[in-house]
Symmetry: D3
Subunit: 249 residues, 6 copies
């Protein structure tokens, strides 16, 4: 019943958040959680989609994709005109999570584009994307305040995400791919720094789950996300790359 | 703080499940929950997708769509080659829920196609689709046992779904469109007849939600789904159309 | 040489037109001709396509589709970005027929959207769509006069359609699917209430047809359509659903 | 009431059919009717579509398109993945007309591809395509008999097409673009050399038409097509290009 | 080592440029080089693409395609929504070459559309397209000066193109298809009448090439293009079709 | 006339090639040339495309794309079903260059997939892609020899690429974006380690170029590529990341 990398059931993988990885991009972050590595960028444009124009309010949208080699086995690109369902689902999730921490009125008629591109996939890419995107977003907003005359701060919260699963009957935090493939139940959670939830998505992969299991998984996720919030804050408070320590609890 | 149709916070809308609404289709159901009306069909083909062929096991897949006039305002058809994200998300949800109650090995190399087409939309179409699709699915399996020589019963559970939301600070069961548009939080739940969950999807629409609110909403959903299970069973035990009574609790 | 349902060669199937089947839609009709069942809706928007804008005149357009289970065997949805030819042909036909009875100048800069979705297909879906769409269209125009301040009446005629075929050497009115599949010749006709034709489309399916056969089929169609006009009128004059009697001639 | 080119109401435009216009193509024809010019080719492949394979029988299919400059005003190419409805309608029509004169069993498991590309459009392109395609098809079948060991003759009839319209109250044969744009009624007819019809497609463009007008237009079309049959035969009997004489009647 | 048509290594195929082949099109040319035949048209519209609007300057764009039968074996049309790479590459090349000889400011806010459609392909279609398109373009500009009030002459050079290849170790000018298929190296060159190059595209098809071979091929191309410039000029100075003589050098 | 980064006209930007940047991918490289950064991977599958199957020979194909934030300004993803022309052109170029150094017979029925994804674009991405892809390809072949039982060495050459342009009248090696935008002429060259060329693509961006300028640019490119060959070899001979020194000449 031990985990592939010998972590405790309630232990996160090592997390590392590198900021400013691309020149000339308002926010650009590489987040690593274990072997999962996601490039998250935040760009700002002076327009909103046509259906929101003229209201003096902004917009935030997100796109997610995986590079073809990110899974080891080559994966076809999303080029056929029809986006696969998983990709679409994830980018909608990321968009909702980030919109939960932005005051669109304070943003003015601007759009923030979040792009999350998975360089290497080892489980948990969607929640790593949320966690990394927040940092890129925070940087992009600061850039817009310095460079686009954005006054006030449209950032109204801090968000991070993590996955929990039931593997071999046991709830485990932050599954790697090997565990994810064997999980009976899969739960993705995004939470604010005030402890309130933005998304709770639990799915029976191999078997259904009880109310008690749901409760236990949600608590495990919340505890993991609190650690991720701290890692985000440290990354943002430092000019340098920060490596999140493993923390046993 | 009263609801538009004066229901109690924990009260379902009237539910009606009509079976055998189309001739020559193994399973065909119209489910009405309040003004929401969804046509759910289940068809059976003697093939599985190429990527599953040759394993002696079956497949179940679902598609969801809304007729153009179903929302009152005309809505463009999904014909442009790119399925909108909401549609794709919902049909993936319906597929997962129904796969949770089918033993694909017992099905043999056959595919069950679930099609959920919304005739009229007044909130809760995705959970109505799950609830109705189960009945069509059950009928289609029985048809296949009589007509395709399917032996044994691949149905291994009963599933239904319902939505819950927080509106004006109050958790409410089975939102209609007017409430849905005003909801702060939106939760969709699918549950088996043994009380275990298949899907729990909670989303902050206007504000984040606490762990306690999540818990309360999940319990409200579970109670509603138990009633839906009973309505499904009565529909299936009768040759006739059944109208679910309002039940106050 | 008798017909599958023992009708006379020149006899229509039973026709039933239900109005107001969807709440909040200006015109919504379910037309049944035998086992064929088509949902026809008419919606009104306050815009015209860009290529017609600014002329003070309106537009009417139609879409047609079949629900996946409508044919018994599951049929793939038109989602691939490329509409199949038959669908496109039919929706163009329906559009032309309805435009023949609307005065677009009297409509003003509005668009009427006709949507015909086949719930169950048993032959003659395209002509049932025309016949049902007229009733939905008439209702939608009346709605627009009451609710959008449309003055005058842009409806300038009444249109209905029917199919005729040559089966086993014999011209027959209103083919069901079984006959349609065996027909040598197929003719679809749409006609106004003044007896003039809007569309006459005759096609050699298995063998070519003589001028005399064409003439005979056209007359048989005209006679059937006169009955359909009466059924449309009765449906419109009543608040209730009307069932068209079989009428032998 | 005289026609733009001073023809009689029942007179065809000058017709010219050039054979063997492309090297190395089994059948290749340029047909000119007045200023309308269509390149029609017939190619033969040793396969049939997957859905017809293994029956020992052949297939014939047709595609139609207009070159961008063919209408004088540049017209966008059909490249967007969605074929426009008119193009699809016409190529289906051409395919049906040619399938009416081929014995697919005698063809064996081969496909004949008809391609009709409008070089210059001045009305009547769809019927010119039918008339020209027949000649290319006849040549391609003869080529296949000489080169692919096709025994017997799968050609079982001769087909040509023409348009008729009602312009300024008068039925006229073979409309040019100027007349076509002003026509109240438009009728396209394809007929075999035994006088039987393959397609009769009459449409009210500006006003509906009576049974008597239909009859008159159909007879006018039949007379024109008999002349086209003669021109096709002369083109085929000669190695050289033939120019169809104007013939007054 | 002799060429299939016994030409000298440095000899062009016979070239023929027919102007005014389509009525009502500002510029329309059929260019034949050997058996290769390309229809080149130039149309003028009074708009520029949105991304160039409002600058008072014009645009020129080109499209290229092959008719399905042009290669002898039937080739699928570019209709699937995804243009094949070769087609896209060629039309970008043709566009760049023609933009090299137009002063877009002098053109005003107009677009020139170049369309090159290969009627018959026997090698060298892309360079024939460039050479023919120049003549159509020149005619279209003159037409616009006469008919659209374009003042001044936006044509600022003369461009033509030719291919060279290394076949059996020998550089050869203007490859036909048979040679092209066997070529080790393939070079396409477009050059102005002042001897300067617009495009030089050399590709190793079967083996890489030395600097010396490149040099020799470029010189051979330049000599061929000078002859094409003369043929273009003669075509333009005559009202009639001109046939380019073979010229041995 | 000095360059933005003060390089000599014939000087490369600093080049750095990191190997093994992704776990579990046969070949994965990040190449940096100045600020341009491209992730190049090489994957191996045990199949060839259907049109090459059954010949016992392999295939190599390449895809290229830019991440949305790679250019500073956000760039839309290639998801619409229609690949933009520049992207398609570049990936075809990369594919041809790598196919020039692989013996497809020696590869057996396997496909090598080259993926080049631009992380940061500052000019020269297509040639950096070629140079980096070669290293990933070399690693992937070695991996296949160790892991897939590939015997012999299908690598039959070494290839690298560089751009040259004429800026302010002066030929310059390896343009950065700022120079590229201002260049009159643009030349991309790919060359083998024996000094022979695989691709030479020169384009007049703002003005045409003389034969002499072409010659000078080609020599400048050749000299730059010889340095890149050395940097590739050093990267491959070391287990570690290598940083190419600036070398003045």
């Amino acid at each position: 019943m031990s985990r592939p990398d010998r972590r405790l059931a309630s232990e996160l993988r090592p997390v590392r958040i590198q900021r400013r990885v691309l020149r000339g991009v308002p926010g650009s972050v590489i987040i690593e959680t274990g072997h999962t590595r996601v490039l998250c960028t935040a760009s700002v444009t002076d327009e909103v989609p046509a259906w929101r124009a003229g209201r003096g309010t902004g917009w935030l949208t997100a796109e997610y994709d995986m590079l073809p080699a990110s899974t080891g086995q080559r994966r076809e690109r999303n080029r056929g005109g029809r986006l696969d369902g998983r990709t679409q689902e994830i980018q909608r999730l990321v968009g909702r999570c980030l919109r939960a921490v932005v005051d669109l009125d304070a943003l003015g008629e601007r759009t923030i584009w979040i792009d999350c591109d998975v360089l290497q996939a080892d489980g948990g890419t969607r929640t790593a994307a949320i966690t990394g995107a927040y940092v890129a977003f925070r940087d992009a907003v600061d850039w817009a305040r310095r460079n686009l005359g954005l006054s006030g701060d449209p950032v109204c919260g801090q968000v991070a995400g993590v996955s929990v699963g039931i593997v071999e009957g046991q709830p485990r935090l932050d599954l790697c791919y090997e565990e994810d493939s064997a999980a009976d139940v899969d739960l993705n959670v995004a939470m604010l720094d005030d402890g309130r939830f933005v998304e709770v998505q639990g799915t029976a992969e191999r078997r259904a789950f009880t109310s008690r299991e749901l409760d236990r998984m949600v608590r495990m996720a919340a505890s993991g996300i609190r650690q991720l919030h701290a890692i985000q804050r440290r990354a943002l408070s430092s000019g340098r790359t920060l490596r999140g320590r493993r923390r046993r609890r």
